[in-house]
Amino acid sequence: MSVKGFNINLNLSLYKPFLKNMLRQRSIFISTFILPILIILTTWWITADTIMIVKFAFDSNTTISTDMISIHIITGSLTAMGITASIFTFILVSDNHKLSNRLQLAGYSMISINIGMFLSLILVLSASALICGSITLFLVETKEPLGVIISILSITILFSAIGNLLGWIYPKNNEGTLILLFYSFIDLMYFTNPMGLGVYLQKWTYLLPGFWPTQIALTAGFYGYSDSTRQAVLYIITYVLILLGISIVLKKQIHNIKGTKVL
């Protein structure tokens, strides 16, 4: 089936060979655990034992004072997974450009290749996210543990989609890694984090990808269940779909302009 030049034959089974290819190189799989585990444990070991006041976007009238260590462990795990997911996805997508061009010549649609590769990456990163979430829950007493796990998984998927987008449209390892590292760090450590006191909860930060997952995590951790959590999950799913759509459309445009290189 073709819509305005787009071949939209969706073949989801393509994720299997991508997944097998990744799992064959065990060191790549293990590397996804390095950053989250180190950041969570170090944050727990070093953070100053002081009280911090937190506000929530879901309920702006509520203020909770809690220990800085708990907040930093939760936001640290989100940051670590955000950086890990975005850079990991970016590197693998940009390294697989020639492979995807060959698959296109073999008859697979751009959507199948993009979604297949993205699914395989999400499956690998989810293992890391679950372990990261388990360590977080072991170190911090939270009100809704499931909410914390959902937020860590959603940040993994969301930042993976950002890495995926950059990997398709700007496949240069050095530059892309720097962009993603600094962007994830700034977004998750300052703009959407209670640590960035001057900008936290300003209206424009609601548009940043790290905002809603951070809010879900903080609400689930220190406030309890909120009806707005479902709404936030919907925002995140929409964000991911938009990013995937943009990556497919832009890749198609680049492909039309530059043509296919398979050698």
Binding site: S27, S31, I34, L35, L38, I46, A48, I87, I186, L197
Partner: protein
């Protein structure tokens, strides 16, 4: 003469990826601007800071402290990643360079010279940006602290690029070390361990002390830590030299 030929080869590689030059400047500037935006209550909030067992008086502005430490983090991350990529992408050519007559000493020296130039440029730019917002007591100490930190982390980037098998493994190791050491542990605003003897062995510790002593009056001269930093650099250079000797032959 032979080293200059090698430097030309590395420079050509850098020229091919022009985008990296743009982002090595843009990324640290972004991080510094973030510090300015996220500092609480504009630029006037102050915090109690104890350095070298002395309470800093007058209390430093949080904005100044955030700017200095974000500059350190930015320089560390950019320099270590640049040297990692530079070496990782070209390391497969080293056995060939050896076969046509270059010694390991010449190859390693050429990398170090290139990296020292890049580090000095990035540190210089970050120093000029910092000067605009922070009133630094000892500018020479500050810029030297930045150059030394970037050099230490660049050598670590080279060592990791030499040792690791996959790119992702190396990248995550460098990013973890950079963010944790320069971004968290050495930051007195968030860390309770920044003056703990255990963190003395971390690469950014002594240079962060030089930066803070050059910025605030702690009663200790900023030059006091230079011998330790020199020792640290010599040890890292030796490790880099010996790891690179054991390169696999083609």
């Amino acid at each position: 003469m032979m080293i200059s030929a090698l430097i030309n080869i590395h420079l050509k590689y850098l020229q091919r990826s022009k985008g990296i030059i743009f982002f090595t400047v843009l990324s640290p500037v972004m991080l510094v601007l973030t510090a300015i935006m996220s500092a609480p209550e504009g630029s006037t909030a102050r915090t109690v800071l104890i350095l070298d067992e002395k309470i800093i008086d007058p209390a430093p502005k949080i904005l100044d402290l955030l700017l200095i430490l974000n500059t350190l983090t930015a320089v560390v991350l950019v320099c270590s990643l640049t040297s990692f990529f530079l070496y990782y992408e070209i390391k497969s050519t080293i056995p060939r360079l050896k076969q046509i007559g270059y010694s390991q000493f010449q190859i390693s020296s050429s990398y170090l010279i290139i990296i020292l130039v890049i580090n000095s440029l990035i540190s210089g730019i970050m120093f000029i940006i910092s000067l605009y917002w922070v009133d630094i007591r000892e500018p020479i100490g500050y810029v030297l602290g930045l150059v030394l930190t970037s050099f230490i982390f660049s050598i670590i980037g080279l060592i990791i690029a030499d040792v690791v098998k996959t790119k992702t493994m190396g990248l995550y190791s460098i990013i973890s070390l950079g963010i944790l050491d320069a971004g968290f542990i050495e930051n007195p605003l968030y860390s309770r361990r920044f003056d703990d003897p255990v963190v003395d062995i971390l690469p950014a510790h002594k240079t962060a002390e030089v930066l803070l002593r050059a910025s605030f009056d702690t009663g200790v001269k900023w030059t006091d830590g230079l011998i330790n930093i020199s020792g640290y650099i010599i040890i890292l250079l030796l490790i880099f030299y010996f790891t690179s000797i054991y390169q696999k032959k083609i």
